[in-house]
Symmetry: C2
Subunit: 352 residues, 2 copies
C-alpha cells in the first residue's frame, strides 16, 4: 500500500528536471549540482492542529508544506530546485493523498521544483518537506550582513494570515487555543478579557470578499522566490517573515550584531486587512502574527533605487519600514518618534 | 524555547565540515558539492509506536533516525556527508532532546556527518531525517542493474532485529500489535493460534547475553557505509534490507526486470539468533522481518573474488544467498531445489 501511495504522489508531481539523474523509486535520489552553484538546504514540518487547522483542505496543506520551505530558500536568495516529502498520515486515505499531492504539485510546478524522494508513514497527520536549491557561490543572502545605517524593507503586505486565523478562531475552526495563542491577534482588555478589534464599516458583500482573500493568503502563501533572486548583490541581510516581523527582524539583528527601529505607521497592510480590522489590530498581526512569508531585508545607503528597480522587474513591491541602528533589539516607533510597546514577542513553539 | 532546543541539539552534534559554508542558524544551510561528485538525497520518518517501541531510550531513537537514512545512502554506494533533522515532540522536554541528540551525534560522528539544519515542532513524537551524501559521478549503485546469471549476496546476518522485536512483543514492550504484525515473526498454528518458535537449549545466562545482543542490533543498527563504498564498480545492483529480504530483493527484481532464487539454507543468521530461535523462525525473521539494514546486492559472473576482497578490506563479511534468473519475482528454494512458500510478504505500512 505504501508503494501505491507513493505512486499516486509521484504521478501528480510530474515536473521533471535534467539535473535529476535518478528520482523517486530507488534507495535515494541522484542529483547534479552545477559548477559555480552552492547547494541550499532547509527542512520544515507542519503538524495538524498546530501549523494548520485540522479542517484545512488537503490541497492547501500540500501547497503550504512546500511553500514554507520555498520561503526559506527565497530568504537565502536561492532558486528552488528539488524537494523531498515525508508524509505521515493516520490511514491510507488515497483521496486525501491525491488532493494533498495536487496542492503540492501546483506550487512545485510554478517554481519548476522536482519531487525527488520521500517517505509515507502511518501516524498522526504531519508533513516534513526538505527543499534544496541553488545560489551562485558567494551570492547567498544571510541574516548576518546588516549594518547600522542600512534601511529595513519588507515585501508585499503583513498581517493577512494572522487576520485570517483570527477569523477562523472566532468561528471555531482555527488552531488549538494553546498552540495558537501567539497568533490570534486578540489583545487582553483591562479585565483580561479579549477585546474585539474588528471594524464593520464596510458592506457585508465587500467584507465577505475581504475575508475570502485573507483566508486565501493564509492557506496558499506565495513564497517570494523572484524577490529573493532579485536581491542578490543589493540586500545586505534577509529573512522570511514566518514568526512575525518582530521576532524575525530580531533574528537579523542578533546575527548581524545591530539593532533596528521600525516605524509603526510605515507597516504595509492589504486593503483586505484594513477592511476587516482597526489599525491597532493590523499592527499586532503584522508585528507578531506570523505566517506572512514575506521577505524582510536590509539595504545599504545609496542602494535603494537599485532595490526598487530590481524588485519592480521581479513583479514585487516592497516598503521601507525602518532602519538599522547600532546596539541590539528591535524598537517600534510611532510618528512622533516615541517607542511603542509591542503587544507580544512573536510566535514560538512550546511558548505556552 | 524552540531556539533553546535547537541550540541543545546543535551543541551536541558538534561535527564540523569544511564543505558547510553556513550551517544551522540561518533560513537554510549553504553547502559545497565537490566537482565530479553527484549529490545523493533521501528522507525517512520514524513514528513512535510504529517504527520503534514507545519505551525506547531517546539515545537509541536518535541513533536509529539517522541510521535508517545512512543505510539508504549506503545502498547507493554513497558517502554520507550532511543531515537535516525535523523533530516533532509532545512537549519541550530538554532532557529528552539532549539524550536524543547524543544518540544521533554518536552515529553522525562515526561517519563524519554534519547536522546542517532542522526544525523542532510540537506534536506526537516523530522524527524525519534527510540525509545527503556524495557519490562519484556514474558510480552509484542502483536497484536496476541486475542481470540473469548474477549472484545474490547479503552482508552480515539477517533477522536479528525481528528476533529482538519478537522478544519485546512477548514482554509487552513492543510495537502496537496492528502495526507490528509483519514484524513479530509469529507464525499462525493450525488453529490460528500463535506458535512458539523459541528454542531453549542454552543456559539462562547465555540466553540473556544473546537477547541483549539482539536488542542492541534492533536499537542501534549499523548502516553498511563502508560496504556500499567498497561495492563501487563490482556490484550490479544494491538495496538495503529494511523491509525484509523478500520485499527488498523483489524491488531489485522489479527495477531490473529479472527474477531471483534464494537458497533458504544459505541465509546468514547470527549465533545469537540461532541460540534463541529455531531454524524456521530464523528464516521467517530474515525473509520478512525487516529492520536489518544489511545490504543485498548482485554481482556479475566472475566478479565474486573482487567483491570478497573489497568487502574484506572494508571489514564486512557477505554471504552468497542465491542467483538472479530470467523472469520475475523472488523464489525461496530448499536444499532439494524445491520452492518453499515464504511466510509473509514483508513489512509494509498501512498493510493491516
Amino acid at each position: 500500500m505504501e508503494f501505491d501511495l507513493i505512486a499516486r504522489i509521484r504521478d501528480r508531481c510530474a515536473h521533471r528536471r535534467g539535473d535529476v539523474a535518478l528520482g523517486i523509486g530507488d534507495d535515494a535520489a541522484l542529483l547534479d549540482v552545477p559548477a559555480g552553484q552552492q547547494l541550499v538546504a532547509c527542512t520544515d514540518t507542519l503538524v495538524a492542529g498546530v501549523h494548520f487547522p485540522v479542517a484545512t483542505a488537503p490541497e492547501d496543506i500540500g501547497w503550504k508544506a512546500l511553500a514554507v520551505n520555498l520561503s526559506d530558500l527565497a530568504a537565502m536568495g536561492a532558486e528552488p530546485v528539488w524537494a523531498l516529502l515525508a508524509l505521515t498520515l493516520p490511514d491510507a486515505d488515497a483521496r486525501f493523498v491525491e488532493r494533498f499531492a495536487d496542492g503540492f504539485a501546483a506550487l512545485a510546478g510554478k517554481h519548476a521544483v522536482a519531487l525527488i524522494g520521500g517517505d509515507t508513514t502511518q501516524g498522526p497527520l504531519s508533513i516534513t518537506v526538505t527543499a534544496l536549491g541553488f545560489v551562485p557561490r558567494g551570492a547567498a543572502l544571510t541574516r548576518g550582513g546588516a549594518h547600522a545605517g542600512d534601511a529595513v524593507f519588507v515585501t508585499g503586505a503583513l498581517g493577512d494570515a494572522a487576520g485570517a486565523l483570527h477569523e477562523l478562531q472566532d468561528s471555531g475552526l482555527g488552531l488549538r487555543r494553546q498552540d495558537a495563542g501567539a497568533n490570534t491577534g486578540k489583545a487582553d482588555g483591562p479585565e483580561g478579557e479579549p477585546q474585539e478589534r474588528r471594524v464593520s464599516r464596510d458592506s457585508k458583500p465587500r467584507l465577505e470578499a475581504s475575508r475570502k482573500r485573507l483566508l486565501q493568503r493564509m492557506r496558499r502563501p506565495r513564497p517570494r522566490v523572484a524577490a529573493g533572486l532579485a536581491l542578490h548583490g543589493v540586500a545586505s541581510a534577509c529573512i522570511d517573515v514566518s514568526d512575525g516581523l518582530l521576532a524575525d527582524l530580531r533574528h537579523v539583528c542578533t546575527a548581524s550584531g545591530v539593532g533596528a527601529e521600525v516605524d509603526a505607521d510605515a507597516l504595509p497592510f492589504s486593503a483586505e486587512l484594513r477592511a476587516e480590522f482597526d489599525d491597532a489590530a493590523c499592527r499586532d498581526f503584522a508585528l507578531t502574527g506570523g505566517d506572512d512569508y514575506e521577505l524582510c531585508f536590509t539595504v545599504p545607503p545609496g542602494c535603494e533605487d537599485r532595490v526598487a528597480a530590481a524588485l519592480a522587474a521581479a513583479g514585487c513591491d516592497a516598503t521601507r519600514i525602518g532602519r538599522v541602528v547600532a546596539g541590539s533589539g528591535v524598537r517600534i516607533m510611532d510618528a512622533q518618534g516615541n517607542v511603542v510597546t509591542p503587544p507580544r514577542a512573536g510566535w514560538e513553539h512550546f511558548s505556552r
